[in-house]
Every structure is written in structure tokens, then in C-alpha cells.
Amino acid sequence: MAYLAAFHWGWLAGGLLLGLGMGWISVVHRGRPLSPKMLGAVAAVVAIAVAVAAARLLPGRFGYWCDLGLALFAAYLIGCTVGTVLRQWVVARHAAARSPAR
């Protein structure tokens, strides 16, 4: 994994930034959230993919692409989390600044 991170740091940084942006937007975005069922399905798919990668079940290039996809997804998730936390913090500070003025 360290090798993948070193070799594809640019693409992973891209995934991280994408996640950061998505996380930042998602706090104030009024779009429809994914239903818990769908979320569970996505989590299951990701868990299966992680299991396949860990067991090295996919051979050759498919195995490598699976690892790469999971690495990008992990970077995206980290980016999303950080983005969401940051935006939550900014929104909370903004709200706190406005309420004493009322």
C-alpha cells in the first residue's frame, strides 16, 4: 500500500481533494441523501472489495485496479470526512457569531 501511495500520490491527492470538496458541500447541500438501504449496499460492496483485495483473489491487472480503486475510495472518504468536519465547524462558528447579535 505504501508503494501504491508513493507511486500514485497525485491521483490519491486528487481523490482526497474531491472528497474534501464533496464533504464541504454536503453539509449545506439540500440534495436527497442516500437511503440507509442503499448506504448499506454500498458499504457491503466496499467490504466485499476489501475482502477480495486482502485475499488477493483477483489476478494480475484486475487485482491491481481493485487495489487502486480502494485506495482512491479511501482517500475520497478521508477527504469527505475532513471536509464535512471543517464545514460543520465553520457553520457552527458562524451561527455562534450571529446569535449574540440578536
Binding site: A2, F7, G14, G23, L34, S35, M38, F62, C80
Partner: protein, 464 residues
Amino acid sequence: MRVFFRWASKWWPGLLPLALLWCLAAWNGTVPLENDLAARATASLKEAVLAQTQLTVAGRDVTLAADAFSEDGRKDALARVAGVAGVRLVNDETRLVPEAKPFVWTAERDVAHVVLGGNAPLPADKARLLEAARAVVAGVEVVDQMGLARGAPAKFDAVALLLVNQIPRLKDGKIVLTDTAVKLTGMARELGGREAIAAALKDVPEGFAVDNAIKAPPYIFQANKDPVAVTVTFTGYVPDSAVHTALVAAATRKFFDEKVVDQLKASVGAPAGFAGAATVAIGALSRLSTGSLVIADREVKLSGDALYTVAADQIRASLSGDLPQGWKAVADISVRPAATPVDASVCQQLFAGLFTQGKIRFDTASATIDRDSLGLLDRLVETASRCPSTAIEIAGHTDATGDDGANQALSEKRAQAVVDYLIRAGLPAERLTAVGYGSSHPVASNDNEDGRAQNRRIEFVVKE
């Protein structure tokens, strides 16, 4: 956790660009990643002992196909590739090279090639042997037909290298190493080569057995009598300086009017009885007007022209009868056409000319003609045949040492011995008269050895 899932439920729109990013990363990154892994995996195998190594990389999986020379070597190679950072899986397609039983290595030499064959235990050994062979036979093509196999005896390296070093000493032949048995066959390049190989092979490590069946090259001794240049040239080998000196001295006596050109070299390996056989053969050659002599091992080949028929018969008989036991003679002797007749005075001049170049020698105080004088006698016979209508007086003279009566008798006997020889050679007896003068007709002083030697003589006097 619940908070996280609530957040995460809103992150799905980013998955589409993420998928796009994934595709782009896979599209751009796969081949460079594979190349990078292949380069580093190849570098990791630099010190592994393998043959026919093939590395193929798919994604992060490396397939290693190679011939290994031991189980440990095979495992080591796989571990080296698996240890390369970034490699996910190593597909093992390595195999052990077959074990050769018996383990055979060969080196074969002919005029233009050296062929190394059989098996070597490791690629490095193979390269080392090839390099050593190229170094020792510079200028000769070295062909590599060696394979690789397990099962070489211990110290194979040292023995094979020692054997390669013997290749320059071979003219042609084959060296075969079968497990711990070394067998050499063929012909040594030079006299003494066989002995040099035997000496070198004493150094083979313990446990190896050597069967040295290398033959020595023929022991050649040659002489060529050239009547135009008036030389007799000796080439080839003699066993030692004593035989060398003796043969050259004999040649100088026998070839009374030719210059002896000595190009002989001393070398070991002469067949038994060489000196005796060479002396007989040189004597036979001295009686030919032109001819060549080749002694190869125990075979004497003499070819050329005798001066007259009886001489040809005598030379053939001498060659077959006088050679030491076990020697073989091949005589190809023809008779030179008779020379044109001359008148009596020319005949006398020719006799005088021959006697200024050589003299008929006898054993000390005896009337037995020394065999060294047969060449001169043949020339005298030939000359006498050129003036068939003349009578010839064969005059014997002695020095003044000793009793006059004895000298007289000795001179008569010696003159008669020469006459007998001439008659046996085919000259009519009625043309020849033997006369002994004792010491009464000296041509030099009898006070010193040189003068006495000149006085002991046979003369031919042509009578009209």
C-alpha cells in the same frame, strides 16, 4: 458512527467523478507501474544463480520463469522477487535444471575448432571455461555446445579448468570428464606434449582418475640430398646432443663432397634403436645421387636414384637387413640413367677430382673397407663405367710406419679389396689390376700424422 453514516449518505454524488479518476489513474498508471516493478525485480535477481530467466509483470503480480540449479537457489530467487516493494504476488514458474547422471563434460579439438560440450554445473562455470579456452587457443574458433545440469562432481571447476589448459598441447583429440573419470584421447601437438599433459594432470584433485591415452606425434627425422646445391640437409629430431654429434659426424664422413646442413633439434620421444637406424639410413642415402630420407617413428622411407643397378640392390638389402629389430624400411630406389662415355684422360681427371674430395677408408691395419666410403666407391664405379675401353690400375699405398713387408702386404690387400668391390659392382675383372706399393710412393712427409694420413691412400690410374 450514526453521525458519520448521516454525513456519508450525502457523499454519493462525488463517486461518479471518483470513478472517472479511477479509470484515468488505471489508464495512465498501469504500464509505468509494471515497467517499474519489472526493472526492480530484474535488478533484485542480479545475484541469483539462474538461467533462462523470464520475468513478466501483470499489474503488481510478477511471474518468474527460470532454470535454477538448486532448491535453495530457486527459493532464494522467489524470495528476492517477493521482497521487491510493490510486488503483490509472485507466480512461481521456476524449475530445477535436470540432473545429469553420469555428469559428462567434453572438450574436443581438431585443426580449426575447439568444441566444448557436455554439461557445466553453473552458467558462471560455463562462461569461465569458455573464456579460458578462448585465451589458451588464441586464433582458433571455440564453439560452445555446453548445456547446464546438476550433479557435477565436487571440484569440477578446478579439474575442467586444468583440462582446458591442456587443449593447446593437443593437435587433435578429445577430453572427456565423466563424473570423476578423466579420459584423454588424440594426438599431442609436439613431441613431449604427451609427457607435459601427463605431468600437468598429476595436479588433479584427489578422487579423480586420469586415463591419458594421448599419442605422441611421429618422431620425424629427415634428410634430403640435393645434387644441384651439393648439399645434404638434415631436419627433424634427434634424442640428445650425443646422438646429434655422432650423426652429423657420420654424415660428414659419408657425404664426402656435399655440404652438410644441420637443422636438427633435440627432443624426447625417439623410438628405441633410433641412432643405429639413422646411421644405416644415412649410409644408404649417401650412396644415392639424389634422394630423400624420412624416418617417422620406426619406419624408414628412402627414395631416390642409385648410380647403378648393383648399388640399388645393395642399398635395398642393407636397408632391410641392417636396421634394428622392429624397424621397417620402405625403399623406392630407381637407377639413374648411365652418364655419357668419356675418353681415358677425362676419366683420369674425374678420378683425381673424386680423390681430392674424399678418400677410401679402411678399418685400422686391415683391408676391410670402411662403410663410410661406400658413397665414394659408388661414384668411382660410375666414373669407371664411363670409360669402358680403358684398363685401370688400383694402386694401394701406406705410410712409412711399421714394417715394410707388412705395409707392402697391406697395400696389396687394400688395393685388392677395392678391386673386389668394383668387380662385385659389375665392372669386368679384366679391366682392373690391383697393385700394392707399400710406403714407396709417399705424397707427403711421413714425419707427422697429417702427412702419414695423406700417404695412406688408394689411387686409380687409367691405362690406355
